[in-house]
Subunit: 292 residues, 2 copies
């Protein structure tokens, strides 16, 4: 049981974490912190937090766990703001979608990563953002990746893991470099492509009609593109290198596929489509095995 | 009430059309036709069709409506096979995802489009294919686009429209050129991108792990890439020109976005993401208005 949890950035992720921990009986008192006072008042009304502070330096005082769920671009400022007041025993963690950039930001402020800082990334989200979208079950059966460094206190990792498990998440550990590579492929690149497609079609003359006839394919893309733009801008900057590698590879692959369409290369096109489908189906089989 | 419906290509679309018409009491007898006899026997067991013929020339005899739901690449052969035996009064229609190529294939066989041929495209589908996936409600509340030409018999269009309405579809008419432009944007390009992404990631070393950590974004892409590869090969060839125009534009746009990531252009990235999100939300508003 945590006596005092401080959530900095009370939106979908921060709010859901607080709600889920309360629901699981894992926390006594939640202090919310953010720049938008109306949002924090709403969070109190919704029972997500018990009190709020506008100043992070004040919010973290006496906290046992500090959960930072702001966009990536705000993290270094938050670290600097809490540096002198966060209790030494407090576990500090975050929900950033790229981990090397968070670790770099923390090192820029503290010199070394504080031993009780456990960088983390819950792989959960939806197209709605803000505290109104927060729900108890957001992390249920979702993976949370922890990326501690060599100097991280194992006890802090264990305590944080237990909290995530208590809210139904599946906890995995890997190093930050590997996290960033995998997430660039599974999340960052797909989001960039979805944004690029929706933006391109939105600029076309028959935009209204195109969105009306959105068939299966495009509907999925538009759903993705409804995600929070600031969050995704920060992810593109935070995980820039890994995203660039994959973007370049994808542009090359797409140019090759374009040549197959232009050349009416029926065999070449079928090969790509069959390979992709087989990979998808093979993975379905694998994940069924995992669940057994 | 149709006395005799002939479905050529008894898969997801052909099977669901037959099932839905039966369920709506709109058809007495359904003849299925295809190359795979085991599939046709299964279609009888499932109550989708009442009898089957392996030869299209025989299957269409005495039919009142002929529904062709094969992949696009097979249509010209089917047209040639039925040309001499399809009754003059029978309405011929199809479910092809590109319409100019279907009309061209029909003209190649008949010289002119038969007056009772109504090219059509039901905008419905799922990642599962085959008659086992056929369901009564597949077209319910989905759009069906009819693309008659100037010489098409208006009575045939009216009769076919009524059938689609009877199975719950929303019928829309436009010319084939416009259909192909709109569908290239809303369906064909998104599918091509999804296939390209899944294929690229499937070739990477940590494939297994990448598919395991598939977050929201990528899961949607893999779902799309599970569609029937032959169908999509044929669509790429059938709607080649419109797809190429959009693919080229997308590759250009993506290269520009890549430069913004490489240059850490926070403002430029945010603009793209905000514009895409706004387009998506604006369309949501529009479609809510449509439903009122």
């Amino acid at each position: 049981m945590i006596e005092r949890l401080c959530v900095i950035g009370v939106g979908l992720i921060g709010g859901s974490f607080a709600l889920a921990l309360k629901h699981a009986g894992q926390v006594k008192h939640v202090v919310g912190c953010g720049r938008n006072e109306a949002n924090l008042q709403r969070a109190i009304e919704l029972g997500v937090i018990d009190e709020y502070q506008l100043d992070p330096a004040v919010a973290v005082q006496q906290a046992d766990v500090v959960f930072i769920a702001t966009p990536l671009g705000a993290m270094e400022k938050v670290f600097a703001a809490i540096k002198n007041t966060v209790p030494a025993h407090a576990i500090i963690t975050d929900a950033g979608s790229s981990k090397q950039s968070v670790i770099a930001a923390a090192r820029a402020v503290w010199g070394e990563l504080p031993v009780n800082f456990v960088p983390a990334h819950p792989i959960a989200g939806r197209e709605n953002s803000g505290v109104e979208a927060a729900v108890v079950a957001l992390f249920n059966a979702h993976r949370v990746i922890l990326t501690p460094v060599a100097s991280t206190n194992p006890q802090a990792v264990a305590t944080l893991s237990a909290l995530w498990v208590a809210v139904g998440a599946i906890v995995v550990q890997m190093d930050a470099e590997h996290h960033d590579e995998v997430l660039a492929a599974t999340s960052h690149l797909p989001h960039v492509l979805a944004y690029a497609l929706v933006d391109m079609l939105a600029k076309m003359d028959d935009r209204r009609e195109i969105f009306t006839y959105a068939a299966g394919g495009f509907r999925d893309f538009t759903r993705i593109a409804a995600s929070d733009p600031v969050m995704w801008r920060d992810i593109c900057l935070g995980n820039q290198e890994d995203i660039l590698v994959l973007l370049d590879q994808f542009i090359d692959d797409l140019a090759r596929l374009r040549q197959k369409v232009a050349g009416k290369d029926a065999t070449g096109l079928l090969q790509i489509f069959q390979r992709a489908r087989a990979a998808k189906l093979r993975t379905l089989d694998d994940s069924r095995k995992d669940q057994q």
